[in-house]
């Protein structure tokens, strides 16, 4: 099955699942209003967005120097840095570190980059138990599913589904659909894992080059526990997450938490600059950072597409997307769903693999309006759509350019251009189309799957205008 057919099948499955759509609708409507409540003054919001955009754009411009500075500072602080070009390299590096430390049980904080690399599967195949400790990630790990949202990974499940899942895996815990009690059950289960874990793996929200600091944003405390309790901490993140200065952090932190979940700030903002020092009593004895490229340096080559890398993974573009709310995250079939997924994944993986994602967009513009770092998502998506059917043979940083081009479709657009740029031909065409309207085909490709075929009017607008006596008609 080609990518477009596979995508359409996933869309059909998602649209047939009323429970799923209900779960998404009710969860997302609340997030939008909470976000808006955090930004009562639009002028202040726009100033903060502009500043956040500049912080991220500045960091991307200076990226190679900042990464070197970051590495130097981290090394001086005692944190080891590992570079990985591919997911396989990142996974192998992490596995090597765990093996050297004889780690059997790993607790994980939330990390979308580790989803990119398929880290859990890789480690489990090699005999290491990996426990996701973020509540949402824990739930979908039990279900054997991938996150359906980058901030709220289990957003597609309702309380009954969570209750049944927990009961299936932990039958000794009394069945309940009460969210507070479900939360307490998860706390008890995971506390034991924290107490026993040999290593902790986490993501990173921002890396500060100036001071050599890894910043983690979270509400639950599982990120702190994963990075503090075991003897070994391994952080994994993308090379684009670096910022220049410590003073760049407050605006990003503020706009991230307000945009992502509508909170003035999250419960914990955790800044890690070194492993446990000789006189200290806890914290990991060794801290490692794995920096993953996985296509990011290629994206940076294009002056326009580079904007994609400003993303701070707040998920607000997803929360406001009218297509996502209907489909949910799994239908996209990629690690990152929603508008940012549509913009990022074809660049990362290739238009020839996932370029059809670009069709899952109405170009309504909502994502571009809420993006905290002003990524022009609709423009990027439109650009990728064009690139996916582009026939030019010029060089491009994009993989699979032109791969979705269809001869029939391209021929039709050529015909359209011809008609619309030659008035006589156009008049002849509209005369023929109105007079022969009964011959209009009843089936017009995908359009008539859900709609009736349009039929031209008896007369063209131009003819009607002339009859009414409009000048120049």
């Amino acid at each position: 099955m080609n990518q477009t057919a596979a995508f359409h099948r996933r869309i059909d499955e998602a649209l047939r699942n009323d429970q799923l759509r209900q779960n998404f609708r009710s969860a997302l409507s609340g997030i939008q209003s909470r976000r808006e409540a955090q930004f009562p003054d639009d002028a202040q919001l726009q100033a903060l967005r502009e500043q956040s955009r500049q912080v991220r754009a500045n960091a991307l411009i200076k990226q190679p120097e900042l990464l070197e500075q970051l590495e130097e500072k981290l090394l001086a602080n005692g944190i080891r840095v590992h570079w990985a070009e591919t997911p396989e390299q990142a996974n192998a590096t992490i596995h090597g570190l765990l093996k050297a430390a004889h780690a059997r049980l790993v607790v994980k904080g939330k990390s979308m980059v580790s989803e990119e690399t398929g880290l859990n599967h890789y480690l489990e195949q090699r005999g290491i138990e990996v426990v996701e400790s973020d509540l949402g990630e824990f739930i979908i790990q039990l279900a054997g599913e991938a996150p359906s949202h980058i901030v709220a990974p289990a957003i597609h499940k309702n309380r009954r589904e969570v209750a049944e899942l927990l009961h299936k895996h932990y039958p000794e815990i009394p069945y309940t659909e009460d969210i507070d009690q479900l939360t307490q059950s998860a706390r008890q289960i995971l506390r034991e894992k924290f107490a026993q874990a040999d290593a902790g793996i986490s993501g990173v929200n921002f890396m500060v080059a100036e001071t050599g600091t890894l910043c983690l944003v979270e509400n639950e405390g599982n990120g702190r526990l994963s990075t503090t309790t075991p003897r070994l901490h391994i952080a994994i993140t993308g090379i684009e997450k670096v910022v220049e200065k410590l003073s760049d952090v407050p605006p990003l932190l503020e706009i991230l938490t307000k945009s992502a979940t509508g909170q003035a700030i999250t419960t914990y903002f955790n800044m890690i600059s070194r492993p446990r020092q000789p006189d200290e009593l806890d914290g990991p004895e060794a801290v490692h950072l794995v920096l993953l490229d996985n296509g990011r340096s290629r994206i940076r080559v294009d002056e326009e597409l580079l904007d994609t890398l400003r993303c701070i993974r707040c998920g607000s573009c997803i929360n406001y997307c009218p297509v996502y709310v209907q489909l949910g995250g799994h239908a996209y079939g990629t690690v990152y769903p929603g508008p940012i997924g549509i913009a990022l994944e074809p660049q990362r993986i290739g238009l020839d693999q996932v370029g059809s994602l670009t069709s899952a967009c109405t170009l309504c513009g909502a994502c571009g309006q809420v993006c905290p770092v002003e990524i022009p998502l609709p423009r990027l998506i439109n650009r990728l759509r064009a690139e996916a059917v582009d026939a030019r043979r010029t060089t491009s940083s994009l993989i699979g350019r032109g791969s979705l081009r269809k001869p029939n479709e391209a021929g039709l657009w050529k015909l359209w251009r011809l008609l619309y740029s030659h008035p006589r031909l156009y008049r002849l065409f509209s005369f023929a189309a109105t007079r022969l309207r009964r011959l209009t085909p009843r089936r017009l490709g995908g359009w008539t799957d859900y709609r009736s075929a349009p039929m031209p009017a008896r007369q063209s607008l131009r003819e009607l205008a002339r009859e009414e006596g409009f000048p120049h008609a």
Binding site: Q51, A57, E85, A152, T228, F269, M271, P275, L281
Partner: protein, 213 residues
């Protein structure tokens, strides 16, 4: 590994996007006076179920001695800091005193199971976001503020700043970051089930700030 590093950096150096202006330094001052800062902090903290009390400087040991037993909480954990020593000296007989004075590996199970509340100081507070700022160290280790189900934090009123940007600037954090710096803004929480807020997932279920004046 070395090769990956070189090829990633080579690709990044090969392309230099157009230079943009350096970002302006983020700083906005609210001009709030001390009373206003305390009010804002308290309001934000209470909005996320954080408990806040204002006490005289010498009252906090008695407050804890009086309050904790009424809540059925007896097993206290303190560090070897001045705050820890002071509480140890004045703890009531109903309080079972535990000291965080050895490496975590030697008593992890006890820390996770046999402690009701931990007591720490704080480096600062942030009025705008309702945050406590901690720099854990050898005397007040990192897990002291994280593993016990209740965390009691002492905050000296004059250490209440407007916001994070102001704090970093005034205290010159760039001169040297600690092993771990934390902003704590309420008890542990999650909204991962149906986007419904639930408190007390992995970190402390309750957070009490004692503002000392």
């Amino acid at each position: 590994m070395r090769e990956s590093r070189e090829s990633i950096l080579r690709r990044l150096r090969a392309n230099r996007p157009q230079a943009a202006a350096a970002p302006p330094v983020y700083r906005h001052s609210t001009g709030w006076n001390r009373e206003r800062r305390i009010g804002e902090f308290t309001e934000r903290m209470q909005a996320v179920r954080g408990e806040v009390h204002r006490l005289g400087r010498g009252q906090w040991v008695d407050w804890i001695n009086r309050e904790m037993p009424t809540r059925g909480l007896h097993r206290a954990l303190v560090g070897s800091s001045a705050i820890g020593r002071r509480f140890a000296a004045g703890a009531a007989k109903e309080i079972e005193l535990n000291r965080y004075d050895r490496t975590i590996e030697s008593w992890k199970a006890q820390l996770f199971h046999d402690i009701d509340f931990g007591i720490t100081g704080s480096l600062a507070g942030l009025a705008e976001s309702g945050s406590l700022v901690l720099w854990p160290d050898a005397e007040e280790p990192r897990l002291l503020s994280l593993v016990p189900p209740l965390h009691i934090v002492l905050l000296e009123a004059e250490r209440l700043f407007e916001n994070f940007a102001q704090l970093i600037d005034v205290q010159r954090w760039t001169d040297g970051m600690p092993t771990n710096a934390l902003l704590i803004s309420g008890p542990s929480k999650t909204a991962d089930i149906e986007q419904t807020l639930a408190y007390g997932i992995h970190g402390p279920k309750a957070l009490i700030t004692l503002i000392l004046e």
